[in-house]
Subunit: 216 residues, 2 copies
């Protein structure tokens, strides 16, 4: 059975997965790039922007799992675009003509539209669906491979509340955003359903992995 995975979703020390005031100019709101700075110094992160070099330690190791064994992604509407993107028929996401996904991507939205086929194997599908329905659709499209939950924090929280997450990798960055969208709200006691490991990186972030415990 293919697994539902969350990969390197980063939150601040005070639990925010994105900042306040998201817009076309500021996809993460007032957080800017601060949540993701740890990625930029890795080999994986530098390759994403066409640069050589970078670290190959624990941060890079986790990032290299990004596409390994993944056959589809599900993402929230707030990851796919700025607030109100659905009013723009030409909007095709933040990632250029050849997005990083290279698989079917299911965008959860009340404003559905026809699928958009991009270069490199990415096709955006727009569905108005519950978390369970979205997993069912993504699983059919994933060809037996795993499904990535791409975020943002609101959709990950909803999939956790529905008990649909098999494996989760959360990165805690040592910054205090103060405001934004919290990942952990409404998840009291969730740790009982997972085996949890934490490991701190020299970059300052702490990697936490959550593996669903048998029987949960």
């Amino acid at each position: 059975m293919s697994l539902v995975r969350v990969q390197h979703v980063t939150i601040s020390l005070d639990g925010f997965g994105t900042g306040e005031g998201q817009s076309l100019e500021a996809p993460f709101g007032h957080a800017g790039e601060r949540l993701h700075e740890w990625m930029f110094n890795t080999q994986w992160g530098r390759r994403m922007i066409g640069q050589p070099g970078g670290t190959s330690g624990i941060d890079d190791t986790f990032l290299r799992l990004f596409d390994k064994g993944i056959g589809a992604e599900i993402m929230g509407a707030n990851k796919y675009g700025y607030p109100g993107w659905y009013k723009d028929p030409a909007w095709k996401g933040w990632w250029g003509p050849n997005p990083v996904f290279h698989t079917p991507v299911f965008v959860l939205t009340h404003h559905t539209r026809a699928p958009i086929e991009m270069e490199g194997g990415t096709t955006f599908h727009f569905i108005n669906a519950s978390p369970a329905e979205a997993v069912e659709a993504a699983r059919k499209a994933a060809g037996g491979q795993d499904i990535r939950l791409g975020g943002g924090p609101t959709m990950i929280r909803e999939f956790l509340q529905a008990g649909l997450v098999d494996h989760m990798h959360i990165v805690v960055a040592p910054i205090l955003l103060g405001r934004g969208v919290r990942l952990w709200d409404g998840l009291e006691g969730m740790e009982k359903n997972f085996r949890i490991e934490s490991v701190s990186s020299p970059s300052g972030v702490t990697h936490m992995t959550f593996t669903r415990a048998p029987g949960h």
Copy 2:
């Protein structure tokens, strides 16, 4: 100059330093002992309850700093007693006739009373004071040694907001309390004032140290 230190204050992954519903029977509210389980398996923690054995790794190492170089503690009213303790003239804290502090302890409260001298060197002083005033009083009493901020989360937050903390050791436990008193509220951007290190322990907790950066 003596330093103002926070030592092994533990918060949940979702940022709560104590649970909801604190009472005489439940000093940490619905959190029970879950925030502090990591302490119980250490040599330091077992000695506190008169038991032999225990680990001597990173958790124990941090705990052994509890009284090292400390000349006074400042604590919040909610650490000293259950809600409403000030109506009970016989209340002398949770710690028995010989409390663990062995120094002057300044309890921040609007309900002052005469000092209480306990066995073993602990004297409770009750002061209605601002964070800066409390540090001044504790520093006079500390004989040139450091001052421990004992918690709870509300008072630590207030001392952080006032810029009065020189060194802080926060322990993040991999549990989700869901409700209670948050440590980090209202501290946006505070990381800029500190050098921060994180290190995860085999026990599952992550130790974070915050050292005030020069010029802050």
